[in-house]
Subunit: 410 residues, 2 copies
């Protein structure tokens, strides 16, 4: 399958199915397709940086939301080709002379992908059918249950709309979010925003997260796996066919406590060897999990509460999701005990921007995490502080169409 | 001058003078020298990511601080060669089996540099000569004055020690800070930490900051300029010869307000054209500033309050500093008016991690910023929320020496 345009910023429209279908290993150019069947940033070979930004819709007019999505689609199609959001002429004056903020001038598209998502509150908020969309809300797009151990911060959760931008250059990714946020003025305002990074070597193997372990080894890969586990099919609703659902969790990892655990303890928590990524007792990352294997004393090699066991399809009736997570580091924070005026030590506010895509959140993330939240050995080191579930509709098929059009217009 | 080791992780000690002296354009390898005359990350061709992390010393024993600096030097020399901080053996058990957290396994050195700085409070805090170092405090290492418009957050300012890590891979940079923070246990604890990014194309021209303008055009470059303006010379104290002073400011930019200004307004604020970076009225980035040039109506082409005029050496009796700033984006934040329960809209907490190195902060940053804080047109869009001044001592000359040794031992 040919790549639809070798030059950045020339305006060639890419209509290929997906990035991963058009590229073999190293990118031939750094423009990822925008138009097609599925939105970008899902199958796309993971870029180095991500922004996940949620918006509250501030209008009560359905038409305004539709106009915003149409406009966002146009702007995103430009940005993902490495073009500015709007005119930026040297020496220009006047109200439309700065429609792009300029910090990506001279930079390439850096494999920028932008996808848009719809939260449950876009359909109904406080029991109100805000935009006449309630009848089209998918069964699967329902607020996540409250899990044991959740310490969610309300302002870091939910949102009516999301933008998910990924690129190999953080300035390109941030630039994209900034132009889209600006374009939303009067219709939607930012609720929360998270940024994350991946190690540079993501193209040469499974990247490691801040636990130091490889993350994403068992992702579905083949077209039939993706159709079965990731893409919405006949079950619909029709406007979601070819779409998927994103569950996003901001997971703080207590790095200080994790680092205080010995390597052996860490490997028992995860169920894999740290260096190789092999399941405990095996030697290669992609060796099959043998969940029944025991050591010479009769103990299970992979403990009952090991993360890899509890998340394995074998122990979840085949439930599978496509994980596409990033590390985050938001500096440090601590607190002051006002009674004693004691300073509680600053600790890293760092961890994982966990993102998983699946056809059925109820069968995948919710089912698996109901178990993890109760039993996972890793839960001693993690705290979920942010959460969202989003319907990720299919892509705009071609220029002139827009993301969400079938939801709003048909 | 030959590069002292082409292989990563082999343990070859680099003793070349500085990165910029050993590399021509594109890096020949991705290990930057650690030992030498000057610490890394100052002249080094800017990497893509930075971490600036400040520590409070929690011990009152001088020897503990010296031991920490000796240990930090050893660990940093390993990390900057792409090696783990300590042993990380597969299948290992025991207390020293996880001395490296592992997330940089398999990654290269990514041009990691780590430098260490000493704040004024290392010498005296609340009037106390904590470690018997007060007599060696440089005259130039004095708390910055309070500038008009400062809205500093105390917990984001100051610090006894700093680590400044830069790398082309954010995971490598964070990994470095994490290992060093861990190594500080019981002696120093993190006070604040900031992370920032640079556009990827920094190697191919002056990078743009989040204002969308090129930043760093007029940096000193020649050896004589650097000796005159950046490196501490005969004035001493002796332990600082070959060192420099870092002024760090976390500058929030009101991107929403900036983006609402037209291109023409923005260019008058900065005094340069946005696209080309040329001074107003000129056509090329490196055209000399003509601060007296006027248009046909007799108006100054570069306004009196333009940022480029107020920061120019011509208007500062030659004062010059080496700027090495990064963009930052820490998501969004807003506030709630508790009286009315009105939500104040979320805005980007984004801007500039401004860092400048100079031989004399009093003649350079302080003198220039006293003017800027009162007159700079850009001040309408910026808020300084974090601040620190650090003595950056010279590098450890060779293995066995450690950063700060001359301060503590002689």
């Amino acid at each position: 399958m040919a790549v639809g345009g070798a030059l950045v910023g020339v305006g060639v429209e890419l209509t290929t199915k997906s990035a991963s279908a058009t590229r073999e290993g190293v990118p031939q150019n750094d423009v990822e397709p925008f138009y097609g069947i599925h939105q970008g940033g899902i199958l796309t070979l993971p870029q180095r940086y991500t922004y996940v930004t949620a918006f509250d819709v501030t209008t009560d007019r359905r038409r305004d939301v539709a106009d915003l999505l149409r406009h966002w689609t146009t702007v995103a199609s430009r940005l993902t080709r490495g073009r500015p959001a709007g005119r930026l002429a040297e020496h220009a004056e006047g109200p439309d002379s700065g429609l792009d903020s300029g910090e990506a001038l001279g930079l390439s598209a850096a494999r920028l992908t932008i996808n848009f998502g719809f939260g449950p509150t876009l359909f109904a908020k406080n029991g109100t059918d805000r935009f006449g969309l309630l009848g089209r809300q998918p069964y699967e797009l329902t607020e996540l249950p409250s899990f044991p151990g959740d310490q969610l911060i309300a302002s870091q959760c939910g949102g009516d709309l999301t933008i998910h931008a990924c690129a190999d250059d953080p300035q390109v990714a941030f630039h994209g979010v900034r132009q889209l946020a600006r374009a939303a003025g009067g219709v939607a305002s930012i609720r929360w925003s998270n940024s994350g990074f991946n190690e540079t070597a993501a193209t040469s193997g499974t990247p490691r997260n801040l636990l130091g372990f490889k993350d994403g080894t068992l992702n579905p890969k083949t077209a039939s796996e993706l159709d079965r586990y990731v893409w919405v099919g006949y079950e619909g609703p029709a406007w979601m066919t070819g779409g998927t659902y994103l569950v996003f969790r901001r997971i703080r990892i207590s790095l200080e406590h994790w680092d205080a655990a010995s390597l052996g303890e860490q490997e028992h928590v995860i169920g894999r060897h740290k260096t190789s990524g092999a399941p405990l007792g095996k030697s290669s990352e992609f060796d099959a999990l043998d969940l029944g294997a025991r050591d010479s004393r009769g103990e299970l090699l992979i403990p009952l509460d090991a993360h890899v066991r509890l998340t394995s399809p074998e122990e979840n009736w085949g439930a599978t999701m496509l994980r596409r997570s990033y590390a985050y580091d938001d500096g440090v924070n601590g607190s002051i005990d006002h009674e004693s005026a004691n300073q509680v030590p600053q600790t890293f506010d760092a961890g994982l921007l966990f993102a998983c895509y699946q056809r059925s959140p109820l069968l995948a993330f919710v089912a698996i995490f109901e178990k993890l939240a109760r039993n996972d050995a890793l839960r001693k080191f993690t705290t979920h502080t942010g959460s969202a579930i989003l319907a990720i509709p299919p892509a705009a098929a071609r220029p002139g169409e827009w993301v969400g059009q079938k939801l709003f217009e048909t």
